[in-house]
Symmetry: C2
Subunit: 256 residues, 2 copies
Amino acid sequence: MTSISNSDAALSIDLQPPAESSPLVRKLGSLCLMTADEIEFLEGLQNNTVVIEAGADFVAEGDTRSTTFILIEGWAIRYTALSDGRRQILSFAVPGDILGLHINFNAQATYSAAAMNKLKLAAVDPRRILEIYQKYPILASGLSWCTAREFAILGDQAVRLGRLPARARLAHLLLELWYRLELIGKNEGRWLEMPMTQLDLADTLGLSLVHTNRSLAGLRRSGLIEVKKDYIKLLDIEALTELSEFNPDHLAEFSI
Amino acid sequence: MTSISNSDAALSIDLQPPAESSPLVRKLGSLCLMTADEIEFLEGLQNNTVVIEAGADFVAEGDTRSTTFILIEGWAIRYTALSDGRRQILSFAVPGDILGLHINFNAQATYSAAAMNKLKLAAVDPRRILEIYQKYPILASGLSWCTAREFAILGDQAVRLGRLPARARLAHLLLELWYRLELIGKNEGRWLEMPMTQLDLADTLGLSLVHTNRSLAGLRRSGLIEVKKDYIKLLDIEALTELSEFNPDHLAEFSI
DNA sequence: CGAGGAGTTGAAGCAGGTCAAGCGCTGTGG
DNA sequence: CCACAGCGCTTGACCTGCTTCAACTCCTCG
């Protein structure tokens, strides 16, 4: 099992960015040693903040105005809507995540994005992302890591949807979220924040609402999870991992 | 419907890279106007070529030696294997595609990659990719476009697996491949090259082999496709598009 | 106090999985 | 040159995990 501890006190205590930093800076700061200059640039990128109300869309599939968003507070989803009203949620985004890191200039957004709860996000001109690659090599590696990680997350989503039965899909997703939130220090013990409804969960897992409910009940009755409003407790991470064949290495840290 | 014509003769005849270029240069060349310098660099990247025999793996999930590969000839797959021997194929790669464009240095490969047929590919040090971002701005935009496109393709795969019934999944995939091959000029009329077995197809679509076969038969009997060894003819693209809710804009060109 | 969203549970139907058998190639070795 | 092994494909029969439909409970908010 990979350790996802956030700090290695003796070594890095002086090198971590200050505590009041943005989640993105904290996330990258726990992975690589950015210069003060780079941290300043990254914080400066996030000056232009926007607030989105829970449930609201802030990117619509087909949009031609391309903006990159850095998520500062709250949870968002990327999704695709079908003609009969059904949805497939592609992934969740949590604080520190970047939406639209790679943008097709002059092309259309290929998915929609919506706020799960109240959101604070920074709107960034995608040209400034390319600027990072030109001027800030450490940051560039960090963003490359973010990209590779997004790929791994979406790939894991495809594996869930294509090859896992319902309960395993659910367990797999819970573990993914648990490890991702662990990295940004948002888990409270084994309690995992779950701000979405069961319908959202169903649209993520490619299941019906009813069967999602029964799958949750199944894991609960097996003693693997405990459920309360907006939170799920992972009672047996090892068993959940085995059931779902989850590989935590896909979300592992890196170091330069 | 988006036009994916390769050339706009009057305008671009002098600006297209020479015909003997690598598929990647031709692909990017049909989208943006690279300088001679940039084309030269991109070709130089591909000097170190490797040949892989049909069926062989060239990346294994968990590998820590990270290399970027540019596909020059043949088809490859990215896939994840499960413990009971089942697979989920995440995506197909065709000539001009890049595997491992964004790499976690010092981290593990999150998927395996294998050759569908005999492959010629260029092995590239991923550090040279970061170099592109620093030194060649047009190329950098081109790579950013490639990345966004890979995301869209994988997102579409998630939609297929999560929300489409079997025949629609198949139709959707056929259209994706058709548009992608159209861009690199590899379709012969309505005939689409399909070098994979039905088992590979099943592992892509998240279906059993038997049901994949029946879905193919279903589309054939509906008069939507015609099947022969290694090729499928798309007899009614409009009907296939409607059946599968395929959105060709996700694979559209861009221009700077 | 009533309405509407979120969750839960039961019952019935069906899309797709599994098991099994057989066909037609192609390649290989006696 | 033939035999036979093996892979890819096809089809039939049966089974099951998941969907759909429907009803009911809670909780919250106006």
